[in-house]
Each structure stands twice: as C-alpha cells, then as structure tokens.
C-alpha cells in the first residue's frame, strides 16, 4: 500500500476506534464462548480454593483479549491486595501470557500497563519485584524513577539495591551510572556491587573501574570475571593485554585465569597468539597439570585453536 493510500485508509477508518472486539470467543481457538465464561466465573469466585482458581486463570489467556469484562476482572483480581498473593500472581501470569499476542493485545495494553504502574508500590515484595521487572523491560519512566529514588534513599526502596540495579540495567539511558559508581565504591552488599558493575558494563567512562577491579587480586573472582566481561565490551584490546598477563601469572585465581584464557581463545588475534611460544608453553603446562577442570577446559580450547593447528 502506498503512503498515500495508507493515509487515506487510516483517516477514513478513524471513526472506528480500536476497542476489544466483541467477537465470538474461541473461533479457531481452543476455548469456546461458554468455556471461557464458565472458567471466568469459577476463577473470579473468591470462595473457591486458591489452587482451583489458579488453574482456571490458566485457561483464560485467550479470553482476556476477546472480552473486556474478563480483562477488567483479571486486573481487578491483580490489584486486590486482599486476594492471596498466589492468585494475584496467577492473574499476572495470565495477563503476561496474553500480552505475547501483540496485535490482539493492543487495546488491552493501556489498562494492563496502568495496573502494573499501580502495583509498583504494592505491599507484597514479590509482586513489586515482578511488576517492576515487567515495567523496566518496557523502559517505563515511572519505574525508573521509583528505582532510582530507592537507590538514593534506601528507606524508600521498593526492592533491594541489587535488584534495583539489575532492573535499571535494562535501560542504558536510565541515568543510573553515577549511583552505580557510588555503589561500587561503597557497596551495601557484595551482590549490589556485582550488579552495579554489571550495569556499568555498558558505560564507556567506566573502563578504569574495570581495569582496577580486574587487576586487584583482593577482589572476589566473581567481581574480576564481571570486570573482564565488561572490558571485553568496552575495551577489548585492553582485556587481551591483561588476559595474557593473568594467564602467565602462576599466583592468579584459576577462575580468573579460565576467563582470561577464554577471552584469548575467543577474541584474541590469531596472528599474534599463534606465534606466542611463551604463552603456548604456559597453556600446555596448565593442560598437563592437575588444575581445576574449568581452567583445563579453557586451556584445551586455546590449544585447539592456536597450538595444535
């Protein structure tokens, strides 16, 4: 369709607002109109057991997009703090599953999204975690704001700092780098520090932080491995240089050496590495030693690519 025709078609059809279509549910689908209505009646019956209701919610995924009453009812259950968490999470799962049918879900999205925003401050931590995750995957600005506020003022935090950092890393443009750098310097927990480093792995200005952490033998292997991975993304030539030094250093942590060997094997320059006899001998020694399986596997990978060729 040409742009002109497209414009004409859309402008002429503008009177028809997109609403959830009142169509015969089940046409071409697994559930019939009577099936889903019965399932909805059973699922919305609060006198029934949670397990039974949860089972019924699973049958309503298609009906959500076909019947506005089901959509609104499902959102009502989700937002009702008096309902048990398991039932509410089942309602959330049903809505989430329905959202995968992108085109059919279009008219349902605004009320669903508004409900998610309302649930971002839900009293249940599990609900907050899930909802904030869903919102952040859509790069929602309210969720970003809440998470950043929580990192700045821990007493207002909706989720633990490591979770907040993890969720904020879904949007590199969330302006979270200054806070993440601060957390790296003064971490409230080792998990928070690791997540802050993972978040900074997309920040070109943090190369120095990762170099420092990678070369600091006092840091945990996990932190050093995260730093190596971040350097691979930000400054791969620097990682290659450090990786060789780490492999050659017999006092280094085997886990970090394994990561370094993998970096050399996967991303190294073949013309340089295949001529590096000192490194080759070191790798051969690792292969023949009684070192941990992880590093031996990395050494084998390296040898296959550069030594045995």
């Amino acid at each position: 369709m040409t742009p002109k025709k497209k414009a004409k078609a859309i402008t002429k059809g503008s009177a028809k607002k997109t609403r959830p279509r009142k169509r015969a549910a089940g046409a071409g689908r697994s559930s019939s109109s009577t099936d889903y209505k019965a399932s909805w009646k059973a699922a919305s019956d609060s006198s029934r057991s949670d397990a039974a209701r949860i089972k019924d919610f699973g049958k309503l995924t298609n009906a959500i997009c076909d019947d506005r009453a089901v959509l609104n009812g499902m959102i009502g259950v989700l937002r009702d703090v008096k309902t048990s968490l398991d039932v509410r999470l089942a309602a959330l799962a049903a809505l989430q599953a329905a959202s995968f049918a992108t085109i059919r879900f279009r008219p349902c999205r605004p009320p669903y999204f508004a409900a998610l925003r309302a649930l971002a401050t839900d009293p249940e931590p599990e609900m907050r975690n899930r909802v904030l995750g869903l919102l952040m995957r859509e790069q929602d600005s309210l969720a970003q704001k809440l998470l950043l506020d929580g990192l700045k003022k821990p007493d207002k935090a909706l989720v633990p700092p490591e979770k907040a950092l993890q969720l904020l890393s879904y949007d590199v443009k969330a302006s979270a780098y200054p806070i993440a750098r601060r957390i790296v310097e003064q971490p409230p927990s080792s998990d928070a520090k690791a997540e802050a480093l993972r978040l900074l792995a997309a920040d070109a200005k943090s190369v120095g932080i990762f170099e420092q952490r990678l070369l600091d033998k006092k840091e945990s292997p996990e932190i050093r491995q995260i730093s190596a991975a971040a350097l691979q993304a930000l400054a791969p030539e620097k990682l290659q240089q450090y990786a060789r030094d780490i492999v050659m250093d017999t006092t280094e942590s085997p886990a970090v050496q394994a990561t370094s060997l993998t970096a050399l094997a996967q991303f190294g320059k073949e013309e340089d590495l295949s001529k590096d006899e000192v490194l080759s001998k070191r790798v051969e020694r690792i292969q023949s030693s009684d070192a941990a399986q992880q590093i031996k596997q990395s050494a084998k990978q390296f040898a296959t690519k550069y030594i045995e060729k």
């Binding site: 414009a7 605004p110 999204f113 070109a204 791969p236």
Partner: protein, 527 residues
Amino acid sequence: MDLQVLTAESSEEQFAALVETAVGSQSVRLLLDLLDERHGVYEERSASTVARMRGWLLELISRLPDGAPDSALPYVLEELDSGRDPYVVAAAARALRSRHRPDPAFAPYLAQAIINVQDHDEFITFAAFGEYCIDESGATTAEAEVRATIDWLHSCPTTTLDCCSTQPSFSERSFAGADRRTLDEIATIPLQDQVSRWTTFGEMFQGRPSFLVFFYTRCDNPRKCSLTIAKLRSLQQTLLERGLAGRVRTAAITYDPAWDTPDRLRGYARNRGLHLDEENRVLRSSAEDLLSIRRYLELGVTFVESLVNHHRIEGFLLDSQGRVARRFERLMWDEEAVADSLNGLLGEVESHEQLVSKRSTAEIASTITSAMAPLAVLGASLIPKCPLCWTAYMSALGIAGLDRLSYPYWLLPLLSFLALVNLGSLWLRGRANGRMAAFYLGAAAVFVVLMPTTVLSPAWIRPAAVVLTLAASLMSVSNALDRLRVHLQLATHRKPAGQPLRNSATTLDAEARRPLLRKFSRFVLRY
C-alpha cells in the same frame, strides 16, 4: 523571563514552573527555544525524563490561545513521524490539533504515528507535569489522541489527501556556495572507519561531494538510526543505478564513539546491507572531537554521560570542499532528491575544475613572467634600444680597444663624440627621473677611457671603465624597466571590469618619454 536559566542542573520542577510561566505570559519564542534539542536543559538526564519534558512542552504549546505556531510544526511533525514514546506522541497530536486550520499534508504523519505507538500505548494524563496514570479515569492514550486529530483533519472540507509526495520545506536547508562555511575548524579531526583505518575529516570529505549521516548502534528507535542506515543503503543503490557510485562518497558517523568500535560499526552497517569500501564508510571520532563536530555541524543531539539521550534525524550534503551544501533534519530524506543534489554538486566540481585549470594557466604565465622580468631587465639593458644606446655600446666596447686596432683616422674622434653623446643622454635621463648617479658613473668612465695611457697606466683600468659604462647604462634604464615589468605582470592578470589601466607602465612610459624626446631634440639641435 529568560529560559536560558534552565540548565542541566535545573530540577524538573523548575523546568515545569518556568515553562508554565512562559505559557501564562504567552512567551512563544521562549517555548520554541526550549524545543531545540541542543538546549542545555536536556543534558545529563535520562532519555525517559527528556521525553516527559518535551512532551509537556508540546502539551503547553497546544494550550496557547492561537494554538501551535508554524515554527513549532517541525517538532510536532517530527514526533508524529518518528516518535515512539506514547506521552510525546499524544502531546504532538494535541499540539497539531490546536492549530486553527487543518492541512491535508499532516495526514501521513498521523498515519505513521499510529503505527509507531500502537504496540506500546498506555494511559496518559496531561493534568500536570510528571503525572502518571494508574487507572483509566481521566486518561487518554496516544492512539486516541492521534485518531482525534485525524478526525479533526477529516473535518477539513478541502482535505483531499493529495499530500504524500513532497518533502516539507522545514526539513531541509540549502546553502549557496558563498554561504557555505569552510571546513577549517574540523578538517584535521581524526576519524576511524569500520576496518580501523584512520583518516581525517578533511581527507574523508574533501575532493568529492558526499552524503553524511549520523547515527549510533545503541539507538532503540527503529524509525531513527536503523532507518537512517537503511536509507543510506537505499541511496547507495540509487547512486549505483544513476552511475554516480564511486564519484561521490557516503558516510555515517556515530554519536557514540566510545561504544561503537570498528567491529560494532561494521556489523551494524552490514546487517542493514550498507556497502562499505574506501568511498563508503562508517566512522567514529574521539569523544572530545565529537563535541567539535557537534558544534560545527550544529547537531541536534544531547547526552547523559557518554550516551545519547535524545537526537534528531540528520543528514548532510557536503560539497567537494567538505562544506555543508544542504542539510536534512527531523524527517527522512528522499533518496532521489539526495542523488539529484549530489549530481548538482558534481556539476559544481566540474565547473570548479575548469576554473582551477584556467587559473593554473594564468598562474604559470605569471610565474614565467616574474621569472623572466629580471632577465628582461638584463636583456633590455644589453640590447641596444635607440641611437643613444648604440653610442653607449660603441663607447664601451669600441673605444677601449681602439689603440690595438687599425682604423681610419676619423674613427677616434667619431667614437669619442658618440661617447659624449651617450654621456649627454645619461644626463638628460638623470634630469628627467631625478637620479643623477648614472650620469656621474658614465662621466667617470668616459674620463678614464679618454685619458692618455701614460696618465692611467694599469692594464685593468680601461676594462673597468667599460664595466662602469655598462653599469651606468643599466642604472639609467632600470627605472623604465621597472615600469615595464609592472606592465607585464598587469597584462597577465584580468583587468577589473570598467577600470582603465591608467597606471599602466605603457601610459607612464609614453608620458615620460615625450619631454625626454623634446629635450633630446633641443640638445641635438643645440650642438
């Protein structure tokens, strides 16, 4: 009220308060200044915050008594065409609808806006800045706002929807040759291409016309950077079909040089089918140099740390000197129009080359003339030009050796007479130009030559007298030859239109010569 007080440090609340005051006082100009992407208030904020701020600004513009002015239209249509944030798109649709007169040319933008937001629409409220909807009450959606604007457009009795073929004039600007800024500021900036080769901005963009775009691989709006590179690929195809490939260059520079390594640039470009070679490259500069490029080309991009938080679509047609001849912004360009422009710039190159060729010929002639001028002076001084000169030669070359030659008895008095005539001519020329040194030198030489050998015994004295006579002759003619040289130089350059060569050496020489000849005639008659 000065909106320049708003900076990167200003809080969102300060922003909201100031823009609302601006609307209250109907300071349209100030609101429009704030719509410019380059405004400092957008620096160091998250992309979503920038979107909220710009959306609120468009909403406030829609509340102006006369609706959104024409000058806001580029921003409004840009958001409808490529915006993805439902809040901003809804605000743009409302701003468009606030105009008093619907225009059918808006239809394709509204159609595109629906496509852009339909998969991530949400409830929106414009009750106050920074408010989010958590339920349906009092809410609208981006799609509802766009459809309401389409209905408004449909109410226009003249709407024919014959609208989609022309590029709006606001999205491009052309610069005539004289208005193009030179590349000096950024010509030496190093650029690295997709295979890590280094060049400079000047080397890359001088010598041939080019089409330059900006993008970055982490852009999450498929209607901007991804489409920019895809359209660049489409342009390459158009150039190929027209036989222009290889005669012009295409290039894309990243806004995010720290992240976009050569590998990433190459992968991104190839995934979109872009042809890459020496003349078609994707490039990055250093982060510092990007600021210079940004300033020089007035790029509409702002950053949070090293990341882009907002940018517009931008493409530049550069002439063969690397100067901006035409720029496209906010809306995607038409490949055929760009190819036409590149063809036009190639025409400029050919005209320029012809002009350079003509200039080169003139410069060579001028150089030869300049080099010849001293030779001409010497030649002119040596070549006898008049009877007086002949007497000088005869006095210098003849008399000195007369005593060794067998000659008629009358030759010595004759040549002595001629030597005195030469001396007289030196005196006359000295009087005419106020320089008597040549006469004194000539007189000394004649004195030496005519003295008996017994008085001046050294053998070298007479050859020295010959040299002195020649020197005197050269001195006397040097002034006229200076003028001759000026004349030759002037003759090789184009005469300014309407300006006669009043100061040419020819005129001066002729004028100087007339009293000289009159005096000489009188002198000859006297003797």
